[in-house]
């Protein structure tokens, strides 16, 4: 028997309320409740509905962190309501907590959002195994444990949307596939049985929707309740683009490759040279800013760059340790 003592604490919940059928604007309602150390966020949602207002709406199903239905935001943090302990939320944010849907602009009723954009992106990356499977195979198609490990647990995704609606790029760029779709794409790209590799990669390489618009903020890694670490998969997909020869020359791919050239030449970056290599003729658009920066002593011409000491070591390592080609 656990000797753990149950404690209670007063919390003021500020809860997002909105009914798209009736309300012109959303509003926030306050609920003061005693919360016990045994409760999770979903218990609080249940109590708001059962004890305070039966019209309060939210999605829930399994309450075991598997179905992915109950993700909401607590003080702006994506949270799987059935998994997150109230005590941890209070430790993190104090006794004033704001409960909101994953995306306010997609709110339909209270915590319920229209997740259509999430599923559309999910669908777009062909989230299934594409393989010419024999109808009557002579033996089973075995995948070794080592090959299965290559998925890096991307298959644990429960499609709750926590990362998708935590992604700042999704918020700005409607075309961007978003971290969940990328993690799912990786799940199949890394699967040895999948035969659609290059076609899928091709779509992931496209500008605006694709991998190159990721801002590298790690919000997705932080938000994921299953530790799928979507940005790690995004990085892996970037590397695959080069490895499979899908990466064509564009400003983003040249930018990545420019680091290697600059390091081989100077050890450090040649910042100006790198922008030139990445942008090519489009560099003209950066000229006004470059002039401003030059006046302020922020631009060092290539001949004045202080190279790394022992540059020969770096050059030797760049030669011997390179694993990618472009």
């Amino acid at each position: 028997m656990s000797t753990h003592k149950i404690t209670t604490q007063k919390v003021n919940f500020k809860v997002f309320r909105f009914n798209a059928d009736e309300d012109y604007l959303p509003y926030y309602e306050d609920y003061n409740m005693e919360v016990t150390s045994e409760e999770v966020v979903l218990d609080v949602l249940n109590r708001i509905k059962w004890d305070h207002d039966g019209s309060f709406s939210y999605r829930r199903s399994c309450r075991h962190g598997i179905c992915g239905a109950c993700a909401i935001k607590v003080n702006g943090r994506s949270t799987l309501a059935c998994k997150e302990r109230m005590n941890d939320m209070i430790d993190l944010f104090g006794p004033e907590l704001t409960l909101e849907p994953l995306s306010i602009k997609r709110a339909v009723k209270d915590m319920i959002i229209d997740k259509g954009d999430f599923w559309e992106k999910h669908e777009a990356i062909h989230p299934y195994l594409i393989s010419d499977v024999q109808e009557h195979p002579e033996h089973e198609h075995l995948v070794t444990p080592e090959e299965a490990e290559e998925l890096l647990e991307a298959d644990l995704c429960i499609q709750c949307g926590a990362c998708h609606y935590a992604c700042p790029v999704v918020e700005i760029n409607d075309d961007f596939f978003g971290p969940a779709a990328f993690a799912k794409a990786y799940r199949f790209e890394a699967d040895v049985r999948d035969e659609a590799r290059n076609e899928r990669l091709q779509e992931l390489h496209e500008e605006k929707q694709g991998l190159w618009d990721c801002v590298k903020c790690f919000e997705c890694a932080e938000a994921c309740p299953k530790d799928v670490n979507p940005i790690d998969k995004i990085t892996k997909l970037h590397q695959m683009l080069f490895k499979e020869g899908i990466a064509t020359s564009n400003v983003a791919t040249r930018h990545a490759v420019a680091f290697k050239h600059s390091i081989a030449k100077f050890g450090v970056l040649d910042e100006g040279g790198m922008v030139l290599y990445s942008e090519r003729l489009a560099i003209v658009k950066h000229v006004p800013l470059a002039l401003k920066m030059f006046v302020k002593g922020k631009i060092v011409p290539p001949w004045k760059i202080v190279k790394s000491k022992n540059l020969d070591e770096i050059q030797k390592l760049v030669k011997s340790s390179s694993t990618a080609k472009f």
Partner: protein, 293 residues
Amino acid sequence: MKKLKYALFTGCTAKQSTPEQMMSTLAVADKLGIELVELTEASCCGASHLQDYDDFLSLVLNARNIAYAEKHGLTMVTICNTCQLNTAMTKHRLDNNAELKARVNEKLGEVGLEYKGTSNIIHFLYAIIDDIGLDKIKEMVVKPLSQFNIAPFYGCHNIRPSELQNETHKTPENPYNPRSLDDLIIACGGMNVDYEEKNKCCGFHVELQAPHTSAVLAGKAVAGAMDGNADWMVTPCPLCHLKLDTQTNHLSEAVGREVALPVLHMQQMLGLALGCTNEQLGFKHHIEKVNFV
């Protein structure tokens, strides 16, 4: 107290596009009695972009940088969030994967180096909080910044991924409710401004391929700080600084309103409070005029 001594990994911008960051780091270290041994042998960390192209090469190069800090037997201090991320990430991966570490060391062996894993890697902000302490810093303040509302801008790569970053310093930081920079502002006598974007992304890393996304993110950050009645912003990251300080016309266009604030490096803010001169802190290198000092 024993004199603090660190190996300084300057990163690339400190030597090029943000010279004021280098100057203020040295000035502040002097005031705080910290000895910095600059790792002049270090290469670029790859800035998360080389990592998209050639992961193994980036590991080897970062391990080489760390190996030089280890040779000095010193903790490596970074002054750029992205350098911190890539260096600490390399250490984390090598320390937790003996096979990978052996492969990297095989390469380093070709140039007579070895990565051991003996040096901690910590951003300057957390180094001074851990090793000197905010109370002590507060005592050392000679010019409290009491007339200023200061908006902290944390920068992604110092606070996320939190599991990695919290391995590097003693005072845990929560990426959803970070405190370190707010606490440093308070220690300097300033008023910390709370605003939604303080722990959000500045968009620097997609400036070339997605200029609109990048400008909206940075524009919203400056707008948030302005709406919080900030007199200026402060950041521990030179890349955030470049994004927030150098192109306010783009940012204004992207968010549909005039946004501009002076943006200080965390070392400059601390330097002001500790009594460094404007010349030492390099304010002349800013694009947005630092017009209050």
